[in-house]
Point group: C2
Chain length 471, copies 2
């Protein structure tokens, strides 16, 4: 009698309906979000609960089959798709989409990895609470991936990254053990911080199957303002003023370069700039207020008047209606879409110490201009928390195709500069299979060694998302 | 020729002035803060900079000498003193007390492990900023220990524990490597979270030698209030109201039982209760306001008026002067001292989900009363972040000595109850050599295995603070 194959055993474990091997049907699960890469897989498997995830992991361990954990598959660094070998399975968590519990009096929610971020927002709202993680892909990204990649977004300034919004985890380890670390506690000093080790490890140390998320009271009021500044340095002065005037009410502080704004108004002509003239740089500010719209507006007025008097800003507008506020946010949120309409560019998701931002932008801009005269910088991002989207587009008249052949050189210029300013080459997107080699080249020997030691200890067979994070 | 001894080599590395072997002189370094335990050491060594720490660690590795890292030695769980074998050295970081940098525009400060917390506060204040970590021992505790034990304190509600206040670390690993992870970044998704693995590991995975700390703008105003409630449940209702009315301005929310308050007013008769009558429970609230004293006072008035109308509180007083505010805080801060004056008791530093606090206290009180009729509960703590000091004193007429013989049974009752309510037996003090065995008995097999795997991977010779954290 022949031994049942791995696939047959998989089907036995979780039901044959939940194991796909047809390459056409697997396509969405082996292709990355931006459709730049398509890998191959032995199968895509869809366990329905934690026990089944553990069973599949044990089976994979026995058969030495690598596992690519996947939830929303909205990552930007090829972290959730398999390579081209066809040896791995994609383990999709999308069926595990239950909200297990909302504990309003504890300000927590326990959810499974396959919960779509928007659904989490809705459920929190129904309990008159809020889950602050805010991402462009919130309609399709899932909590498992948000935590696996330690997602950032526009609310990090006040609420932190996904890491800061998670109190506990349930994880299936590389040997198919289930670690129930679903603590609902804000303080817990009973051993090593396993939670934060799994968060941000992009599925290379274990599979996050559920999490306890922190919820917050919903602010009574939100106000948005748009200010013009002469330079990133002045934007930083405004940030400092805003933190002093508004304290923790300041919930967003986004930098937008003139060219970034122009891209949006050109490709989305219905979105109008709130300011009558053009300026080199803009800042979008948001206040979340526990009192009232009036109070938030007064706070903004005091801040912006002071900033104008001090010569920190050139002009500013406070949104008077929800519509105006939405327009201001659309200017920020449509930069990526406007870029795509304009053509291709070379994207960087970087962080440097906030205090060095101005100098970094000046230095990197100058170097790029020196080597690629006329290249156009799409510079925008979360200045308030020290991270930036620093994208480089072809000079006018140069085709995207010929410009993109310089990607490696341009990355090198930008990343060397980031490194010189004590920054990192991934602020919020992670490393995946796209940045892991470059990242290792900038890390110290001791940091690379520590990471490898941990990987080897927790995944000795190298079956958990191999080829990601570490080269 | 005889080989130089380990001690001679140590002296060569860091200077003979900085190696103590005289047992009398070593006494403060082998005795714990509460003077309940005195261990023995081969030597106490005092390296002056990171390179010297690394050199000592390498020497210890070669000679298989265990290392007990120590900074302020103010821990409460025997985490920073050696055992009685006399085989280990105490590696004190107290000479490494430099503030390496204050980057006010980045809201960060880079300090060495031997910096006293109060000095950090002062230096932050000089830059017109604030480092929020607030502990009773701030005059002698040091940053290395604060991070090693992930210290908590009274500002966790708004600012988090020591872990949340640290952006980067410098660590000497068990093989004497120096990991420079002194990132000054609020976002960094470039690999495993090594920082949080070392924070809270109580020196068992490596030695923290320096850290990048987060600083914050100083609030313009602080207001304190004292409210009386009927039950912990009502205190939780008040917490929920306060979070809705005051948002992030709420920076402290401390529960105090009637008996705890009576202990203070009995032993410190100069400290008067701000309320004319007595009540079963009290709450101390603090608001930190970015605007003004008047604004903070108005916020408090609105909150407390609403809470009285809703029947959530029985009475309340808002401090009208700095002196009144200080008195309210003294009532809270002198509970530990008042307990000591009253006699000995059995202390527990526990966390349960905030929503279950009332039920937990009721259940644990009832069980203790059942087995130890008349025992007196000193219950107080950081209700806002879900942690409590739940201390048990002898019934009237029973001597401390005879009562303390029941410590193991009482711990068992309390900890079983904590476990039943999904809590942990150390909220902020850590495990050290005092709670590690009990802790392991409440953890799942998979959590214990994961912790041991990490310890073995990062400290294969078991020389870093052996016998702490893990049994």
């Amino acid at each position: 009698m022949t031994q049942p194959t791995f696939i047959e055993l998989c089907k036995k474990l979780i039901g044959s309906d939940h194991v796909i091997t047809d390459p056409a049907k697997m396509l969405p699960f082996v292709t990355d979000y931006r459709k730049r890469f398509t890998g191959k897989a032995l199968a895509a498997v869809f366990p329905g609960h934690t026990r089944q995830v553990a069973d599949v992991v044990k089976l994979c361990k026995l058969h030495k089959v690598p596992i690519v954990p996947q939830s929303g598959n909205t990552g930007l660094v090829l972290g959730s798709v398999p390579d081209e070998s066809g040896k791995a399975i994609v383990l999709s968590l999308k069926r595990m989409n239950r909200i297990r519990e909302i504990d309003a009096n504890n300000n927590t929610m326990t959810v499974e990895a396959g919960c779509i971020l928007d659904h989490v927002h809705t459920a929190a709202g129904q309990a008159n609470l809020m889950f602050p993680l805010t991402l462009a892909s919130s309609g399709s990204c899932m909590i498992g991936g948000n935590l696996g990649a330690n997602a950032g977004g526009t609310s990090v300034l006040r609420y932190g990254t996904a890491r800061d919004l998670c109190l506990g985890l349930e994880v299936v380890t590389a040997d198919g053990d289930v670690w129930n670390g679903l603590y609902k506690l804000r303080k817990n000093n009973t051993g090593y911080d396993l939670r934060d080790l799994f968060i941000g490890s992009e599925g290379t140390l274990g599979i996050i199957t559920a999490a306890v998320l922190k919820l917050f009271p919903r602010p009574k009021a939100q106000q948005t303002a748009f200010a013009a500044v002469k330079s990133p340095e002045d934007a930083l002065k405004l940030l400092s003023l805003a933190q002093r005037f508004c304290g923790d009410s300041l919930t967003a502080f986004e930098l937008i370069s003139r060219y970034s704004l122009e891209l949006v108004t050109r490709h989305f002509p219905e979105i109008l700039s709130p300011l009558p003239f053009t300026y080199p740089w803009y800042v979008l500010l948001e206040l979340s207020d526990a009192e009232s719209d009036e109070h938030a507006a007064r706070q903004f007025e005091k801040l912006l008047e002071h900033a104008i008097e001090e010569g920190v800003i050139s002009d500013a507008a406070i949104a008077q209606t929800l519509g105006q506020s939405r327009t201001m946010w659309q200017l920020r949120e449509n930069i990526s879409a406007a870029q795509s309409k304009e053509g291709k560019n070379i994207k960087h998701d970087i962080a440097v110490p906030t205090s060095l931002f101005g100098e970094f932008i000046e230095t990197a801009d100058r170097l790029l201009e020196q080597y690629f005269p006329g290249c156009r910088m799409v510079t925008f991002g979360h200045l308030g928390d020290g991270s930036l989207h620093y994208n480089v587009a072809a000079p006018k008249g140069v085709s995207d195709e010929s410009f993109l052949t310089h990607q490696a050189e341009i990355n090198r210029i930008v990343y060397d500069c980031v490194n010189q300013f004590k920054g990192v080459i991934s602020a919020e997107h992670g490393l995946g299979a796209l940045k892991h080699v470059e990242n290792a080249s900038y890390k110290s020997g001791s940091e690379n060694r520590l990471m490898k030691t941990l990987k080897k200890a927790l995944d000795p067979d190298n079956l958990m998302n191999p080829g990601k994070v570490l080269p």
